[in-house]
Each structure stands twice: as structure tokens, then as C-alpha cells.
């Protein structure tokens, strides 16, 4: 038996293929939306991977450092290092802000500035690898930037009032929001995080000086000490902890909570915070969009197939009159609908693959999502064809005779 659907498609292939391409662009958008969601999840996973930590120690009763602000004294890490099972502990600060190359405001971009203690690869908080340049070695005014910032090696970038020379470039170091990271020395980051402008410092000094508690007659050193304390920052956002091999993260976390009175999250808990709290709303937003796109696609396929079927009512009546089985006619319409979906899927997948790198944030197109997408497309096309099939099967063969 010849394929009636195939012959019909070949007969009007131009219209069919162009319709499939139009549908394909819609499917491409749908796949891209799924890719954006996957990209967000992957960004969160990469953020945790790149931190190199097994435990995140944060301010008590906060979900810091990524989901909520957290502030710790920068000397707490020493006490944590003494606990059994802890191999390494390092302070870290995170601050999302606008960073721009010196003298080139047009290339300003949003970045997560990460303050780390200059050290070697593999230490908590450090970028895991570089694609160019070197790691941070000095205590001040050096930066390692993610490639997606667009900053170049040797270029100077401005963070708050200071200039930092880009000495290294890394890749896929991004925040959970997809902002690229710029690593700078911890001391500079602490200063940048809490730095006030000169006018504010003068006003603060004046306020402190007129406070009789701090400016006592005959005790000028009290005021000096208070002023010094006010201009120094001794806070960090978190302490990243690397455990000894074989150490139980939950047990070490429990020890830190009990003895240091701090909040601690294991990798699994931090993953949960990022996915269930930080990106949950965005994920739901994208899911809603996916549902709407799927419904729109289904409606479009149904409309196209219905219109194509209406255009063949006479032929269908003749086919029925000459004894074609209902299932042959239904199969013809179903095959055309699925064919349309397959063309659309190929076009959509190709389009999504080509335009994914153009998106400002990471779009991760997983083969498993593509396979699921193909299945959904086929299912939607099959369901969408039901209306047209119903119409075709209700055609009276007598219509071919007329009268």
C-alpha cells in the first residue's frame, strides 16, 4: 500500500515544509526555554562545584551566602580549622555589582565580585582552573575574571573606587543568577563591600566625635579606637570548608553548629537552597511559559492539520466512497500531523542549537530534554490531529456523488 500521507506531502511539499519550519521556530523557542531552565540549574551546580567546598558556614539563621545576606567575623575560620574532619577553611565574600573596564563605561557589566584569600588551585573559593594568565598572588588590586565578562588579560577594571588589573581569565564561573564572577583579593573585597564614600566617612566621624560616650574628656584614644573600628571591615559572607577524605559532612556540620554557634549547610542542603528557593520562582515562571508554548504549539498544529484536512474533504469523500477504510484515512492525517511535528522538531532543535550561544545567560540543551521534547511534540501532534481525524471520519461518502 502506498503512503497517502507521504504522497500528499510530496505533492504540496513547499507549503508543508514552510509550515513545519514556522512550527519549528516555535518548538525552538520551547526548547530554548527548557535550555534556559537547565542553564539556571547548571549555573547553580557550577557555583557549588567551583566553590570547592564541602560545607558552607554562614551567619546563624540565614540561608547565606547565595540566597540571603550573611555576615561572619573573618577570624572564625581559625576555630573551624581545629575541628575534627576539617581539612581546609577559607573566608569568602560575594558581592554582585557593576564592573567596568577603566575608561570604557560602555563595556560595563554586571558581575559577582568574589573576595578570596590569594592561594592555589583547589583551595576553597579559588577558581578551579584558568584559561589564560595566572592566579591571584598579591594581596591587593589583582583580579581573575570569567571570560564572559569580556574583560581582557592585562586590562584594568574599576570596582568601586579602585582599579584592579586582570591577571587571569577563567571560564564557567558564574553566580546562580548567571552573572560572571570576578575574583579579587579578600581584603579588597571586604573593603569594597563595606566601603563608604568620603563624605559619609567625614559625617560618621563627626557623629562619633560628638557622642560623649566615645569622645570622653581626657581619653582621646577611645575616639581613635572607635573611628578605626568603624573604618575597618572584619566581616566575610561565609567560610568555605573542605573536609578530610572520609569525613562525614553531617557530623562536621553538627559540630560547627554546636560549638561555633553558626549556620552550616552541606552540599546537598546548599543545592536544595539554590534550586528550591533561589531559582524556584524563575523555574516556575519558565515552566508556565513552557506550558503556554506547548498549548500554543498544539493549537497551531491542530489548526494547520484541520485546515489541511478541510482542503481535502472532497478527496476524503471520494476515498471513502471507493472503499478506503477509516483507519487508512485517519492514519493519513495522523502521519501528516506527526510529519509536521518531526519537521518542526528538526528545525526547532537546529535553531535552538544555533541561537543558544547568543543568549546572554547560559542555555544548556540536554539530549535527554531533546528526546523528551521530541516525544511531547509527537504526542501533541497526535492529539492535535484528532479533531481533523474526527472531521474527516464524519465526511459522508455521498458528498462525492453530490445531489
Amino acid at each position: 500500500m502506498i503512503s497517502l500521507a507521504g504522497r500528499d506531502i510530496l505533492h504540496g511539499w513547499g507549503k508543508y515544509v514552510f509550515t513545519g519550519m514556522g512550527l519549528g521556530l516555535l518548538i525552538g523557542v520551547t526548547l530554548s526555554m527548557a535550555g534556559i531552565y537547565r542553564g539556571m540549574v547548571d549555573d547553580a551546580a557550577v557555583l557549588l562545584d567551583n566553590s570547592g567546598a564541602d560545607l558552607w558556614v554562614v551567619q546563624q539563621d540565614t540561608l547565606g551566602p547565595y540566597a540571603e545576606p550573611s555576615s561572619l567575623y573573618d577570624d572564625l575560620y581559625r576555630g573551624i580549622l581545629t575541628l575534627p574532619g576539617v581539612a581546609q577553611a577559607a573566608n569568602v565574600t560575594y558581592l554582585t555589582m557593576q564592573v567596568r573596564p577603566a575608561g570604557d563605561a560602555a563595556r560595563e557589566r554586571r558581575a559577582m565580585v568574589v573576595g578570596v584569600v590569594p592561594g592555589g588551585f583547589g583551595e576553597p573559593g579559588q577558581p578551579r582552573f584558568l584559561v589564560a594568565g595566572r592566579r591571584l598572588t598579591r594581596g591587593h588590586y589583582e583580579a581573575v575574571a570569567d571570560l564572559s565578562t569580556g574583560f581582557r588579560l592585562g586590562e584594568q577594571v574599576r570596582i568601586r573606587r579602585h582599579l584592579y588589573r586582570v591577571v587571569g581569565l577563567t571560564r564557567r564561573n558564574v553566580s546562580s543568577g548567571g552573572d560572571p564572577m570576578v575574583f579579587i583579593p579578600l581584603k579588597d573585597a571586604q573593603e569594597a563591600q563595606f566601603l563608604k564614600d568620603n563624605d559619609a566617612i567625614i559625617q560618621q566621624r563627626h557623629r562619633t566625635a560628638v557622642n560623649p560616650l566615645f569622645n570622653r574628656p581626657g581619653q582621646p584614644e577611645v575616639l581613635e579606637a572607635v573611628l578605626a573600628a568603624q573604618t575597618q571591615s572584619t566581616s566575610v559572607n561565609a567560610v568555605l570548608v573542605r573536609l578530610d577524605a572520609g569525613a562525614d559532612p553531617d557530623r562536621v556540620a553538627a559540630d560547627i553548629r554546636r560549638w561555633k554557634r553558626l549556620g552550616v549547610y552541606t552540599r546537598a542542603e546548599m543545592n536544595e537552597i539554590l534550586q528550591a528557593k533561589l531559582i524556584a520562582t524563575s523555574a516556575r515562571q519558565i515552566f508556565m511559559f513552557l506550558v503556554i508554548l506547548s498549548l500554543v504549539s498544539a493549537a497551531i498544529v491542530a489548526f494547520i492539520i484541520y485546515t489541511l484536512t478541510l482542503g481535502k474533504i472532497r478527496e476524503i469523500a471520494i476515498l471513502k466512497l471507493i472503499g478506503t477504510r477509516n483507519r487508512t484515512i485517519a492514519a493519513m492525517i495522523l502521519q501528516q500531523a506527526i510529519g509536521l511535528g518531526l519537521i518542526g522538531f528538526v528545525v526547532g532543535k537546529t535553531a535552538a542549537t544555533f541561537w543558544a550561544p547568543v543568549f546572554p545567560k547560559y542555555v544548556l540543551l540536554l539530549p535527554s530534554d531533546a528526546a523528551r521534547g521530541l516525544l511531547v511534540v509527537v504526542l501533541i501532534c497526535a492529539l492535535a490531529s484528532l479533531f481533523a481525524i474526527r472531521t474527516a471520519l464524519r465526511v459522508d461518502p455521498a458528498e462525492a456523488i453530490g445531489g
Binding site: H11, E315, I318, L321, T324, I401
Partner: protein, 242 residues
């Protein structure tokens, strides 16, 4: 693999065929007792004014509409008998009735050969066999040279000959031709009737031609007139008959 066992060559017979549309006071009797008998190899005309029941009769003969009463035999097999009917009318239409329409109504996305070969393919014959049978018929109808053409590439006369080939390809006991010459000029119209006569004799098929066409009415040996749902037989001039 025909669903209906074929016993060709015995024509079509209807006795007292009735068809009522609707119920109660609004019921309309479109056929009030039609009688037709067409022998194998014979071509008869069926004429009648609009509203006479011609289309209803054609639909009943074509197993598209079920009659309310009466009896019909096709190729020696009872199709309807006072409320009873054979179970599979679709297979009956496929295997035992050929249709030729006013417009050829060829499937636009199949080429000429496949338009003709479709019926045997639907009946389960191998594609090669079906196409061979189609080509044989197309040759017999002088359109063999257009076997690979698409319907849109044919002239009106060629399309009608392909339609006749399609109607004949299953070697049905009866062909119902509904105004087959209406869009054609006299020469082509007579040509089509000539072909139907030739094929009827060759394939031992009974042919009923529904027509208003004054050009071809004189070619029938017998003509059935239908008026107010009843048929009346008349002898025609039969200029085409042997």
C-alpha cells in the same frame, strides 16, 4: 483479497426500492418503488428531472445510502432485502461498484497510475500487481502514455478516461456513472460513452449512466426514467449498441 466474493457478469437488479427521509409528518418518500435491471455488459441511461429521486437512487445503488425497503442484487449477490443488508458496505463499494463522476475527482496527489491502482492496493493487492493492472487499463483507454502524469497535467477528456479506468480496475459487476459527459463537448462526450460501452462489453460490467445530456441519451438501448420516486423503462435509440 476481496471482502466480498466476486461473481462477475450478472449485472444489477433492484425491485421496489424505497427510501424515506425523516419520520412522521415530516417524512419524505424520495423513492417509492424503483425497479431496474441491467445485465452484465449492458449500458443503460437513467434520466429524470431535479427532485425526481435520481440522486437518492444513485446513492442507494452505490451503497452509500441504505434504502428503507426493497431488494437489490449485485453480481448475483443480495445486497439489500427489505431491511436486511450485507454487513460491509465499504468493502462492497471497493470491490463491486465502480464510480465515474461528472468531474473526474482524481486524487490530486497521486499520479495517474496510482490513482487507478489505489483501489486494488486498498483491497490488499501487491503494489506491483495493482500498478500492472492499472497500466493495462490505461493502455486500453488510450491514456497509457500519461501513466506518470499528475491529474492536473491532464486534459478534461484524459482525466475522465483515467476516472473510467479507476472505476473498472476492480472488475466490478456494476459501474455507476453520474453525469460523466456533462463538462465535455459532443465529440468527447460520445467518446466517453463509446469507451463505457466498449468496457462494459469487454469486462462484462453493467453500466448505469445518470445523465441530462441530450447528446448521449440517444446512444442508450434502454433508458430508465425516474419521476416522483418511481422508475419507468423505455427503449432508446441505442445507436452505440452492436
Amino acid at each position: 483479497m476481496a471482502d466480498v466474493e466476486s461473481t462477475p457478469g450478472e449485472g444489477i437488479h433492484i425491485e421496489g426500492l424505497r427510501k424515506r427521509y425523516g419520520r412522521g409528518e415530516t417524512a419524505v418518500d424520495a423513492l417509492k418503488g424503483a425497479d431496474i435491471a441491467v445485465a452484465a455488459g449492458e449500458v443503460v441511461g437513467l434520466v429524470g428531472p431535479s427532485g425526481s429521486g435520481k440522486s437518492t437512487l444513485l446513492k442507494c445503488l452505490g451503497a452509500v445510502t441504505e434504502p428503507s425497503g426493497g431488494r437489490m442484487t449485485l453480481g448475483g449477490r443480495v445486497i439489500y432485502d427489505e431491511g436486511w443488508r450485507i454487513p460491509d458496505l465499504r468493502a462492497l463499494r471497493r470491490d463491486r461498484i465502480g464510480f465515474v463522476f461528472q468531474a473526474p475527482h482524481l486524487i490530486p496527489f497521486l499520479n495517474v497510475t496510482d490513482n487507478v491502482a489505489l483501489l486494488p492496493m486498498l483491497a490488499g493487492h501487491a503494489n506491483a500487481d495493482a500498478r500492472a493492472r492499472a497500466r493495462e487499463l490505461l493502455e486500453a483507454l488510450d491514456v497509457g502514455h500519461r501513466a506518470q502524469a499528475m491529474p492536473s497535467q491532464l486534459s478534461g477528456g484524459e482525466q475522465q478516461r483515467v476516472a473510467i479506468a479507476r472505476a473498472l480496475v476492480s472488475r466490478p459487476p456494476v459501474i455507476l456513472a453520474d453525469e460523466p459527459t456533462a463538462p465535455l463537448d459532443s465529440e468527447r462526450a460520445l467518446g466517453v460513452i463509446g469507451i463505457l460501452n466498449r468496457m462494459a462489453r469487454e469486462y462484462r460490467t453493467a453500466v448505469i449512466v445518470v445523465t441530462h445530456d441530450e447528446k448521449i441519451i440517444p446512444t442508450f438501448e434502454r433508458i430508465y426514467h425516474i419521476r416522483d420516486g418511481r422508475t419507468h423503462e423505455e427503449l432508446g435509440e441505442g445507436r452505440m449498441s452492436t
